[in-house]
Amino acid sequence: MNIEFFLELLANGALTGLMYGMVALGIVLIYKSSGVLNFSQGAMVMTAGYVTWLMTSFGLSIYAAVALGIVAMFVFGLLIERLLLRSMVGQPIIMIVMLTLGLDVFLRGLVPGILGTSPKHLDIGVGMAPLILGDVFINRVYLVGGVVALALFALAALFFRTRLGTKLRAVSDDHVSSWSVGISVEHAVAMSWGLAGVCAVGAGTIWGTVQGVEWSLTALLFPAVAVVILGGIDSILGALLGGIVVGVLGSVIPGYVDPLVGGSTRDVVTSIIILLTIMIRPYGMFGREDIERI
């Protein structure tokens, strides 16, 4: 195998990984502020994709649709936090995780049920012709996706330097101290859920363009979880770099191993990444270690 094949797998893999990172960013934001692992992020991505498609089906341009989608999903995130998560404060983590799983199932039934199950297509105005650098073909939609992901990560990093972002950082450190200083933890958690909804719009639109908006967008949860574990559940930088690593490994390794094995090994690679990370360094590359005290 020559170097161009490797470079191509590398490039497309990195871009795909950034797109997974977009989904992971939502999970990280929620975990940072409330300690809840949001298993329904995949369903939120699907819902965001459907919402954007719904806006375009009313005749709006893709940009207007995305803008409206951002507002809608922000409110959606707020509502979920207020209605469901608020009453689960203090419950064991398994209950909250199951709650998000229940929400995932519910959304998977509700949204395609109402809006229709046949795949809807979104078009962000990028053609299909690949970008050719030397002998390396780069998928244009993936390139746009990678750029959008990087933009979202940059926005997140900038956001955390603002006043509101500092409050969120305080809340993610310690709830009790934040209360004692006068920061409203409830508002901060609600805000993080809203922001996760916004990330879901980015992911939903890009992935919806790549594969069509359909319930299978919820399957993005699994690679996103791998990204989050590898990078550290509460680290944004970890989501970015972890995304790139998961994407690259998930593209390069199957590229070489699949012909030998005769089957697709991408899910296996993702599973092994999760397992190795948990066995060797459970908190991921940049995660903060959880010290349990007696």
Binding site: M98, G102, V105, F106, T270
Partner: protein
Amino acid sequence: MFYRLSGVHHTRYASARQLWPLPADRWQVAAVFVLAVAAPLYMSDLYLSSYMLPWLVWSTATLALTLLMGVAGQLHFGFGAVMAIGAYTSIHLTQAGVPFELALLVAGLLAALIGCLFGAAALRVKGLYLVMATLAMQFLVDWVIVNVKAISGGAVATLQAPAVEFLWIPVDTLVARYYVALLWAVIVTLLMLNIKRTSFGRALVAVRDKDFAAAVIGVNIFKYKLLAFFTSSFLGGVTGAILAFCFYRAVTPQQFSFDISIQLVAMVLVGGLGSTIGAFLGAGFVLLAPIVLLNIVAPMVEAGWLPVSASLMAHIPLMIYGAMIIGFLLFEPLGLAKIYDNARKYFLVWPFRHTQS
């Protein structure tokens, strides 16, 4: 009044510490047992094969998982894979001519050994990370089963269960299959009822509550966590084999996917973590509630009272299932077992209002 509490005195430790100290409880259990054994006599074939049999087998699986999650406190989101290992092993062994009983045992042992590998992750991490590790293992096992032709049988990917005999009685009619499933359910139920009265069960509870404190008082956490995974996976593997032989009579890789693992966890949580009766109630509820509600909604839609398209109709069970999980976790986190317990305590002292417990 219903339970006839007055006059129940125990003068020996043995009788005070039995599973059901009240005679009323013992009569209830006996009645339920008789009803279960006599089911083929009064139940139609449809009810027996479509509702009772799967309910029994899934309750047993839930019991196995609640042993791990409720009693030992180890979260396991990959139990479907454990059941799959048991099912596939038993099918291959019986196709090779091994007697059914032996095949079940070996299937359980193999599932237990591989389940211990899953458990090795539990030695390293807890809580969320354990969830993730078991999830990853579920996908790995799924992939191995689908892609290793020797296991899954190639592109056709459906292995039929051969005709078997259990203790020299051929397991071919519905009634025979029902009794095999019932026997296994009774064994596992007895095990679960008594588990907390053994030192093994007490050690598991100690590990669940605070494992380093348990280590301080001399419980070997390493050994007991692995043992919990071993036992639970053994029970799960045999249950998977029973499911394959008694209900599906074939195995396909999709039967034990990630969705099934989540369904099992939902059954455990809806029923109540660690509770035996909760396992039965939870399994029944999760299995039957979507069907029941759909059967109520469907005639309404056909009669035109509710304007709902066929596609939305098909999604309603999914929505009900999700809403049910959310509802239980929000309003009754301790599950159906707690609701049953509340009702029982109410009737225990009726017509008086206050109980001692």
